[in-house]
Subunit: 218 residues, 2 copies
Amino acid sequence: MQKAVQRQQTRDRILDAAEELFAHRGYEGVSVRQIMSQAGADVSLAYYHFKSKRDLFDQVMLRKAETLNALRLKALEALERRHPDDAPTIEEIIGAFTKPLLELLADNHEEWQHYFQLIAQINSSSEWGGELMTRYFDPLVSRFIEALRKALPECSNEDLYWSYHFLSGALTLTFAETGRIDNLSGGVCRSSDMRAINDRMPAFLAAGFRALADKPRD
Amino acid sequence: MQKAVQRQQTRDRILDAAEELFAHRGYEGVSVRQIMSQAGADVSLAYYHFKSKRDLFDQVMLRKAETLNALRLKALEALERRHPDDAPTIEEIIGAFTKPLLELLADNHEEWQHYFQLIAQINSSSEWGGELMTRYFDPLVSRFIEALRKALPECSNEDLYWSYHFLSGALTLTFAETGRIDNLSGGVCRSSDMRAINDRMPAFLAAGFRALADKPRD
DNA sequence: GTCTATAGCTTGATAGAC
DNA sequence: GTCTATCAAGCTATAGAC
């Protein structure tokens, strides 16, 4: 039993190191050697625990996606239970989508920050964005879009998907905490100010959804 | 004179090849050899025309940023000339920010698509996003934010900067054309449908700006 | 300005001892 | 399971002929 525990711990240390380095420098910007050096283990162990560098990357993506998707689904289902007859507001549904991220960051900032930085890069990558985001997140996203459809029955499918797409861009960039808004605003705003984000993002995006839903059809 | 022309042509071919490959696979995912092979020239020529791989990358970024910034400034100034006394609407200002991208894509799709894919990756990169986007785009962005401030005098500085930040995420992801919305929507929406984007993005984002500007202050 | 050739290093991945 | 040692390939960058 002790062996199995240690095995899992080593595996996790490798995944943690890979997550952080991939998040900062991208898949191609990091070598297996650098990952194992940060994990404090020998290079050959990477290939004992994982099939290849690419397999290691996939496991990094998958590990936290499962946790995040489960929390988001739980938040949405709790919201729907509170509205057995009517539909929740757009703000509430978007809140169920974003609140889990804020809570995970509040609990363990560094660890989840690395993951969200990684997701932001993948989402914007022309090579991997379409395939990987679809694989890891779209089943859950479809579930959220269903909820949004019920709350905006007059909204066309196209408007709904484009609205979600704009949301996705704003969300992933925001949680990447690149520091750009700090520079642009001369210090007035800070990338890491999760309270400022929570106060603004759902309202901003919900207004966008409504604007497209209410827009007169051509 | 002929020599100077050929020199410039070779330089441009190298920049074109670098732009396309960096856009698809990122800075670290591409070798100078691959770039020069695509450009149809010898590896050593890369180091004749550019100081290093990183210098080549910087020149790729700079070349089109200058064109794009100039067109955006022209669009904003033309808009302001049409409103000598009153302020333009938020939609019009956002339109002046996004229309140049659509026009450049309409004229020369492939070339500018590569550049926008590159920008999307840089913007979302935790390593480079803050620094490079600031360097290449923030002077112009500050000019746009000034115009938005005039159109939304009741809006706080913080709300303005955060609103622009959400805009930036939505915009760069959209023009990256990753194909994700094609997958998510089951083909209902297409990443490359610039008409659909032009019909929706300014309205979506303008509504977001107004929602934050009108939000009661705590 | 464009080539050949190569220095000096790092890469992903594996074989085999213990 | 964890090490040492290593391979073949690819990398950035430069020196020097023409």
